[in-house]
């Protein structure tokens, strides 16, 4: 949103809101001034005419006194005063606009006409006085007095009318003013409420975006980049700021996701390296175990081969077969531990192992192989069955005079290959199983088969990249069953 495209800006909004308040206050002021002006006009109307009429009456009385003074004494001073007063009277009546809209206008017209008639009679009286026509000036003076009486009568009549009307108007005025006071109170309260709402709207308009932005900023500061975008409805700088903030937040989110992904990749890589290191370590340990527990297999292998040749020369075929089996067993055992073999080869090795045991222990220890043909080609690390069979023999059957049976079986279950080594010996307690699978014993030499079983388990887990491959089930006096659930390798 560019500056030009914005419909409004904070400055414009502030101007509009401020102007609204100013206009409202101006309206109130104009209203109050207008009402006061009307009151003033009213008061002036009520008394203006009364004052004006009173001044005419006073002037007329003064004129009459001056006229009488002149007629009595022929004093030029009184005549001058009379002339001055007459000017004043003419000035006063000259300002009257002759109209005929109401009876007051008619009476005012009468007053003007009577004033002129009074002037004529007075002037005539003065003229007659100058001519020393006593009867004449007396008659005209009497006429002027009569006219003056009419004027004062009209003035009194008008004043009475005004007084009556003003009395009525005053009563109405008082009740109307009271009513107007209540109305003005309502208007003022209304204006205050209106102003407060406008101020509230302004502050909401200003504060809400800031509040939203600050809340979103706080969330981001806490590390929560998944907050919703800040929404500002007004199309002004706040919207621009909110949009920019949202863009910034989303950019940071994307960057953090990228960083997380990179870190995950690195972690996985390190894990892989670690597994490889552990694998190597385990292989080294197996080799060490083999070296520690057995004499040099090559030496033994060569020696056994010499024995085989000697038995052939001495015509002892059973001894020869025994040594041949032993030779094959040793050959299988000395192969590279990081190589890969099959279940079939593993089973063959166990059969060799069984034949040797049979020579040693006769038929006290029996072996049974239930091998599904489809499982024979499943690839497994070498020497995974032998340590388990040894374990079955040592922990299960070695102490039993009646001997026992070790059953090695393999089969497919959906997408898994299951290998089971089971004996019907004396079984193991859960502590023994736990000891075999963990490193709780202090001296590894105390339990070399435990090392062998753990080694098998660890190698299988590393090989298949799974942790739940190996399981031991055992019951005291019932036997032990070691189950390996191998996933199909691509």
């Amino acid at each position: 949103m560019t500056k030009k495209k914005r419909k409004s800006s904070i400055r414009q909004n502030m101007i509009v809101y401020s102007m609204s308040i100013i206009v409202l206050m101006t309206i109130l002021s104009i209203y109050a001034i207008s009402i006061m002006e009307r009151y003033k006009d009213q008061m002036e109307t009520m008394f203006e005419k009364h004052i004006y009429l009173s001044s005419i009456e006073n002037t007329l009385n003064a004129l009459d006194a001056d006229l009488l003074g002149f007629l009595s004494t022929k004093s030029s001073t009184r005549l001058n005063e009379y002339m001055i007063g007459l000017e004043e009277l003419h000035r006063a009546t000259g300002s009257i606009v002759i109209q005929g809209y109401n009876m007051e206008d008619i009476v005012m017209k009468n007053i003007v006409n009577l004033t002129m008639a009074y002037d004529e009679q007075a002037q005539e009286a003065i003229s007659r006085k100058r001519l020393r026509d006593v009867a004449g000036y007396n008659m005209h003076y009497e006429e002027s007095l009569l006219i003056k009486g009419f004027i004062i009568e009209y003035i009194d009549d008008l004043n009475n009318q005004q007084l009556t009307r003003n009395s009525v108007a005053y009563s109405g005025l008082v009740s109307q003013i009271r009513w107007l006071q209540n109305l003005t109170t309502i208007i003022v309260i209304d204006l205050i409420a209106l102003s407060l709402l406008i101020v509230y709207l302004i502050t909401q308009h200003m504060v809400k975006p800031i509040s939203n932005l600050s809340s979103a900023a706080e969330e981001i500061a806490k590390g929560n980049l998944a907050t919703e975008d800040v929404v500002v409805e007004s199309e002004d700088e706040w919207m621009l700021l909110a949009n920019t903030f949202n863009k910034m937040k989303n950019s940071i989110g994307t960057y953090v996701e990228e960083l997380k992904y990179t870190a995950q990749v690195e972690t996985d890589l390190k894990d892989e390296q670690l597994k490889n290191i552990r694998m190597a370590h385990l292989l080294d340990k197996a080799k060490l175990y083999a070296l520690q527990s057995q004499i040099n297999p090559h030496f033994l292998f060569n020696t056994i081969n010499a024995g085989v040749q000697m038995s052939i020369m001495e015509r002892a075929p059973k001894t020869g077969q025994f040594l041949d089996t032993m030779s094959r067993l040793f050959r299988y055992n000395i192969q590279q531990m990081d190589s890969v073999t099959t279940i079939g080869e593993e089973v063959q090795n166990i059969e060799d192992y069984y034949n040797l045991l049979k020579v040693r222990f006769g038929s006290r220890i029996k072996f049974q192989f239930i091998i599904d043909e489809s499982t024979k080609d499943v690839k497994v690390p070498p020497l995974v069955l032998q340590p388990l069979v040894e374990n079955a023999y040592i922990h299960g059957l070695s102490g039993l005079e009646e001997g026992g049976t070790i059953i090695v079986s393999s089969y497919k279950d959906n997408d898994k290959t299951i290998i089971v080594v089971r004996d019907d010996g004396k079984g193991m307690s859960s502590e023994t199983i736990d000891r075999i699978l963990t490193k709780k014993h202090k001296n590894e030499s105390e339990d070399s088969t435990g090392i062998g079983v753990r080694n098998v388990r660890d190698r299988l887990e590393i090989y298949f990249h799974k942790s739940d491959i190996f399981r031991i089930e055992s019951k005291i006096d019932k036997g032990t069953k070691i189950i390996m659930t191998l996933p199909i390798m691509e």
């Binding site: 005929g100 009476v107 309502i186 209106l194």
Partner: protein
């Protein structure tokens, strides 16, 4: 805290209240400003074209509210302002002349006067005439003056109407007393009084009908009661009375009751006071009354003035109608009067 829509709604409502309050306030204050100004003469607020002055006897029942209603209506119709100067019976003549002076010096456009007087009044009318102020006479005429026109009831016609009504009510036999207002006593003899002349002209055809006596009294109930009581004693043969004033007729009716003369005397009155009409409705005491159309008289004054101002000439005598109201047409008259007043 508040929803924005709610705030905007409240702003709208308060703005409406504010505008309404301001408008009402301005209107009310305008009313205040005009509270003490005088009312317009006419509904259409036009200016008056002429200003005329009425000089009347405030105690004469002809110049009742109905008369002024007629004037008011004509004022409005012709845009003429009428200034009314009501003078009491006491010193009427002197005050009437002063009022005519006032009209002269105030330079009014015309004068209507209920005149009483002789040469002095005649001179005043001439004076006003010289000042180009036309004078019209109401109800009392001075035919030899320079008045423009006479407007009012014709006393001779009243006499004819009353005479016929009395003949009918009294079945052609009766000794009649006429009780008139003192202000009307300006005829030198019975033959000069057109009212009495009218009655006499009717009675001429009936041998047994005659005017036994004529009495002039002050207006008012008490005065009439006193005069009637004395008359019953001094002239016991009188069995018919015509009184030319409504208030006085009520006094005479009371005297008839007090003197136990109900059914012995036929009373005819003048005017349409409600009490008088109630007597007629009940019968026995007051047989009927003569009423003049005072509304028409009031209206006619201004119509005639306007005609004169436009044409510079009007009829010298303008008579307004009279009616004989008795039991048979009383309801009709009342209805007619109500319609007129509305």
């Amino acid at each position: 805290m508040f929803n924005k829509s709610f705030v905007l709604f409240m702003i709208g409502v308060l703005t409406v209240i504010l505008v309404a309050g301001l408008v009402v306030g301005i209107v009310v204050s305008s009313n205040i400003a005009s509270a003490s100004s005088s009312d317009f003469l006419f509904d259409d607020k036009q200016e008056a074209r002429h200003h005329i002055m009425f000089i009347i006897n405030e105690e004469d029942q002809i110049y009742s509210d109905v008369f002024f209603d007629g004037i008011k209506q004509a004022e409005s119709d012709y845009h003429i302002a009428a200034e009314i100067i009501s003078i009491s019976q006491k010193n009427y003549e002197r005050e009437m002349l002063e009022a005519m002076d006032k009209a002269l010096y105030a330079d009014v456009d015309g004068v209507f006067v209920h005149c009483v007087g002789g040469d002095e009044l005649n001179e005043k009318i001439d004076e006003l005439w010289a000042a180009m102020i036309p004078v019209f006479l109401l109800n009392e005429d001075m035919a030899y003056s320079k008045r423009i026109s006479f407007i009012g009831v014709n006393r001779y016609n009243i006499g004819i109407t009353v005479g016929k009504a009395l003949v009918e009510s009294m079945e052609e036999v009766g000794q009649i007393a006429v009780i008139d207002q003192k202000q009307s006593q300006h005829a030198d003899s019975m033959s000069d009084d057109t009212l009495l002349l009218g009655i006499s002209d009717v009675f001429r055809d009936y041998d047994l009908m005659e005017i036994e006596m004529v009495t002039y009294i002050e207006q008012g109930t008490l005065s009439a009661e006193t005069v009637a009581t004395q008359m019953f004693k001094s002239n016991p043969d009188i069995n018919g009375i015509f009184c030319t004033n409504g208030q006085s007729t009520l006094g005479i009716a009371q005297a008839i009751i007090d003197n136990n003369k109900v059914n012995d005397i036929t009373l005819y009155g003048y005017g349409d006071e409600e009490e008088l009409l109630e007597y007629i409705e009940r019968g026995k005491i007051v047989s009927g009354t003569i009423v003049s159309d005072t509304y028409d008289m009031g209206y006619t004054t201004i119509r005639v003035f306007d005609e004169y101002m436009n044409q510079n000439h009007v009829s010298s005598y303008i008579m307004t109608g009279i009616e004989n109201i008795h039991q048979d047409n009383l309801n009709y008259y009342r209805t007619y009067r109500e319609v007129r007043l509305d």
